[in-house]
């Protein structure tokens, strides 16, 4: 269960959320078999979820091994190949299908003649890195604040909840754009991760808070409390393990949104900067050529589509498997 989700990115969303679940035997006596085994067996029966998983695995692997793969294909993401474009046609790729050839497997970009295949691979690296890291950050912040607010209640809850309310009243896209354009001379990828996380954590925090509030009154939690177990221990051994399902589902479903946001911000010109390839940037460039170079136009959008689709499929299946009621709170 943990393996496919955390591939390629140490400390990816999957690992962080599921480790406690594996380490601590689930005290919830409702399921006779281990919930993880149950989930996996449910998941395995859904072919569509496996398709999603396979697509994700494919992109994660190709992104992780991009340098190796491009070494074989022969072109790096920023290498220009002037001979592959026709200057007299305003830099259109020579040959059919956007310049597909044994040397350029998926053709070249118009004008500069950069290899589309290499740029897609490295673009996947950026898109997935940003999305996974942001997912990890919102999980950490969201779970920490949500669980604290839900468990301790009272004034702590009021303060955290107000804070979440204010954060959710921020027009997030507008603020992300503003922040990204204000801050200069900073690693753009890191900045994107921070800015995107900043405005996305309250949503998961709210869900976690609600769940924690209902878990808090379960008998085994009450029992632990009466027997003098410390709050921290209760939180980590009694409550958190019961939240892992929700967290995993939520994170899986949040990732496509994060990938889309990264692409959108870069499309609007405030995300990663050239020559770092990213799908958003490729889409912005390729949209100009939709008529004269359809191949170049379709490819980055298709990649984005596939990855978003795959995460949605997997997330849906996970939700059904982990939480048969299908509630979204």
């Amino acid at each position: 269960m943990t393996a496919p989700l955390s591939t390629g990115l140490p400390g990816g969303a999957g690992t962080a959320a599921s480790d406690p679940g594996d380490a601590v035997p689930a005290p919830d006596a409702e399921a006779p078999a281990s919930p993880w085994r149950l989930t996996w067996s449910r998941l395995r029966r859904r072919r569509i979820a496996l398709v999603g998983l396979a697509i994700i695995a494919f992109f994660v692997l190709t992104a992780a091994f991009a340098p190796l793969i491009t070494a074989v294909s022969g072109h790096g993401p920023t290498d220009t190949d002037k001979k592959s474009v026709d200057p007299y046609l305003g830099g259109l790729p020579r040959g059919t299908l956007g310049g597909v050839s044994p040397s350029h497997w998926l053709g070249v970009e118009p004008m500069l003649g950069r290899d589309v295949f290499a740029r897609l691979l490295y673009g996947a690296q950026v898109s997935l890195l940003v999305a996974f890291s942001a997912a990890l950050m919102i999980t950490l912040i969201g779970v920490l604040l949500g669980i604290t607010a839900g468990y301790f209640g009272g004034r702590t809850d009021t303060v955290i909840s107000r804070f979440m309310d204010v954060m959710m009243s921020f027009p997030s896209l507008i603020f992300m754009m503003a922040l990204l354009s204000v801050v200069k001379d900073v690693n753009r990828v890191l900045l994107l991760i921070v800015v995107m996380s900043l405005f996305s954590w309250p949503y998961i925090a709210r869900v976690i808070r609600g769940q924690t509030m209902s878990l808090k009154h379960r008998e085994y939690v009450e029992a632990a409390r009466v027997s003098g177990t410390s709050s921290a221990r209760i939180l980590f051994t009694e409550i958190l393990p019961n939240l892992t399902g929700t967290i995993i589902v939520y994170v899986t479903l949040a990732i496509p949104g994060l990938i889309g946001t990264e692409a959108g911000l870069t499309y609007l010109g405030v995300g990663v900067r050239p020559p770092t390839p990213s799908w958003g940037q490729m889409i912005a460039d390729s949209a100009l050529y939709y008529k004269v170079d359809p191949m170049f136009f379709v490819l980055p959008s298709a990649c984005l589509f596939l990855v978003v689709l795959a995460f949605t499929l997997l997330g849906d299946a996970l939700r059904d498997a982990l939480d048969p009621k299908g509630s979204r709170t």
Partner: protein, 579 residues
């Protein structure tokens, strides 16, 4: 594309000098086309669609608002072209014609090209009869005087500063907004029809100076200070019906404009609508598609390079492309005031390191540009290009590596390049070429409207920038002294010498040439100086471009002129037929 076009003033002077020099060809194709032979030229002998009919609505598709339509503050193309041809008239103006004819000036509000006296230190103009504003009130010379005074106002910055330079005005005069008017020692208005300018020194080409919008009339009663840009009071063939800044400008006929007094403006369309909300790609798509109202449309800013394939792969679309030489040189500027580009050896290495071939591809390829080999464009070097270094078009990596090593940068370095958002691909071309030498370039793409303020600021200026310079008229006197005279450098708002190149020897030589009376000797000296500055290498000349502008299939009278930096002349454009 940043084009600092301190244009036209002298553009006109052009006429006079050029004719004398015989340097400018009379064909409309432009100079760079002749160099390559494969460049695109405007069809129909330079005029697309023949002569327009009267009436109809001309749509202008734009991705930007005019920065200033106030005549006092209007000093960039194509805004000057647009304002002067539709909304305000000046004492003299340029003929509405393609090619060399368009470089000639004719009387506009004035009855002649001005009468000099006192050795050219005093200039007298008389107004024609029957001149009226949009409300029917008469145009009087005091209104022209008032607008000239406005150009002294710190509240109304940005416009041509020739009046300030030439007029015999008291020191510290700060414009008429607080009620102070200029005295007789500067401008005399003996009656409503006569205006007399008193200059500090003789200015032989003052007849050309008064083509600038500074010399359009603005009635005192209509003064609204900085808001005058939102509604300039019309003396031209059109008046503002509505102007929603950044969204839409609608011009309708000024019925009080008498065509009998105006030999230049043809004013064919009944209405002109400028739509300012579009994206440059959308504008190109619409004009390529050529449907409905877009048949009556033209583009305001250049066709975006990414859409050039759409145009040149389709003959019927290509036939609607106006492409006139801008007469400018696009350059990669290096900030010579800061490390690492304060090192002349490094700057020289850059001449060999850049890949002009790739750069050319990013500005539309050889069909729309030539590779620049010197600062001075071919029009200023006797019609054919000068090549000082004879570097292969794609650069000379071996030589560049050696020079970089000599300069102490064998392992490369990191720097930043400032470009306007529209020129991102050009920056990427530079970035890709320099990457091969371990020179890591970060692209700082800013909106065209703020590019100049970034590049012109001592603190914000980056190591590299891509800008261009256009001569005010075909003489090297409007080129090298404007961009390489180190004494003109200021901390903020630095405009001409953006490389902050300051070499006393060059400055001295510039002064020596300026004093030469023999035009030929001066030209030869400028050529030699061009090479000398190339050796010091404050900038790398990149390309000589044409301005590609696509027009709709129902557009007639579409031609461009280098007086307007290759922009369409709005005086004679109109529709082929009106439904």
């Amino acid at each position: 594309m940043t084009r600092r076009t301190h244009t036209a003033l002298a553009a006109a002077i052009a006429a006079a000098l050029t004719l004398g020099l015989g340097a400018c060809s009379s064909s409309t194709g432009g100079d760079s086309a002749a160099v390559d032979g494969k460049g695109i030229t405007t069809e129909g002998n330079g005029i697309i669609g023949g002569t327009p009919v009267k009436g109809g609505t001309l749509n202008i598709l734009s991705n930007q608002d005019f920065s200033q339509l106030d005549p006092t503050r209007n000093w960039v193309e194509p805004e000057m072209d647009f304002g002067l041809r539709t909304l305000y008239r000046t004492l003299t103006t340029f003929k509405a014609a393609p090619g060399a004819e368009g470089l000639q000036i004719v009387p506009d509000l004035a009855t002649d090209l001005g009468t000099p006296s006192d050795n050219g230190k005093t200039w007298t103009f008389r107004l024609k009869d029957g001149l009226k504003y949009e409300d029917g009130s008469p145009i009087v010379t005091d209104d022209i005087k008032y607008n000239v005074e406005r150009s002294f106002s710190p509240e109304l910055p940005g416009g041509p500063d020739y009046a300030k330079q030439y007029l015999n005005a008291p020191k510290g005069y700060a414009g008429p907004l607080k009620g102070q008017r200029l005295g007789k020692e500067a401008i005399e208005v003996p009656d409503a029809k006569t205006i007399v300018f008193h200059l500090k020194r003789p200015v032989a080409e003052f007849g050309y100076t008064v083509t600038l919008p500074t010399f359009a009339p603005v009635p005192v009663a209509k003064e609204t200070g900085a808001n005058y840009s939102n509604h300039p009071f019309s003396s031209g063939p059109y008046k503002i019906d509505s102007y929603d800044r950044g969204k839409r400008l609608v011009l309708v006929r000024n019925t009080n404009w008498d065509p009998g007094t105006d030999t230049v403006r043809k004013a064919y369309p009944d209405k002109i609508v400028v739509d300012q909300t579009l994206g440059s790609a959308g504008i190109a798509d619409r004009l390529v598609a050529d449907q409905g109202d877009d048949k009556n449309a033209i583009m305001y800013a250049d066709l975006t390079p990414a859409k050039i394939p759409d145009v040149i792969t389709n003959p019927s679309v290509k036939s609607r492309l106006v492409s006139q030489s801008e007469g400018c040189t696009a350059m990669l500027d290096m900030n010579t005031s800061k490390a690492p580009f304060d090192n002349p050896k490094l700057r020289l290495a850059m001449q060999y390191a850049v890949d002009k071939d790739a750069f050319q591809a990013s500005v539309g390829g050889p069909a729309l540009s030539d590779i620049a080999t010197s600062y001075l464009p071919p029009a200023l070097t006797g019609g054919s290009p000068v090549d000082h270094f004879k570097i292969p078009v794609a650069g000379d990596p071996a030589k560049a590596k050696q020079l970089l090593a000599d300069a102490g940068f064998a392992n490369g370095f990191s720097t930043e390049i400032t470009v306007s958002t529209g020129a991102k691909q050009q920056a990427e071309a530079v970035q890709a070429a320099l990457k091969k030498f371990n020179i890591n370039v970060t692209i700082n793409a800013v909106d065209a409207s703020v590019t100049n303020s970034v590049i012109g600021s001592k603190d914000k200026q980056t190591g590299l920038a891509i800008t261009g310079w256009c001569p005010d008229y075909p003489s090297a006197a409007t080129f090298l002294p404007m961009i390489f005279d180190g004494r003109s450098i200021v901390d903020t708002g630095n405009q001409g010498d953006v490389t902050r190149f300051n070499d006393p020897a060059v400055n001295a030589e510039l002064d020596r040439i300026a004093a030469l009376t023999d035009v030929k000797a001066a030209n030869d000296a400028y050529l030699a100086l061009n090479d000398k500055i190339m050796d010091e290498s404050p900038a790398v000349p990149m390309s000589w471009q044409k301005k590609p502008l696509l027009v709709g299939s129902n557009i007639a009278g579409a031609y461009a002129n280098s007086v307007w930096s290759g922009e369409l002349d709005y005086a004679a454009i109109g529709l082929k037929s009106v439904k």
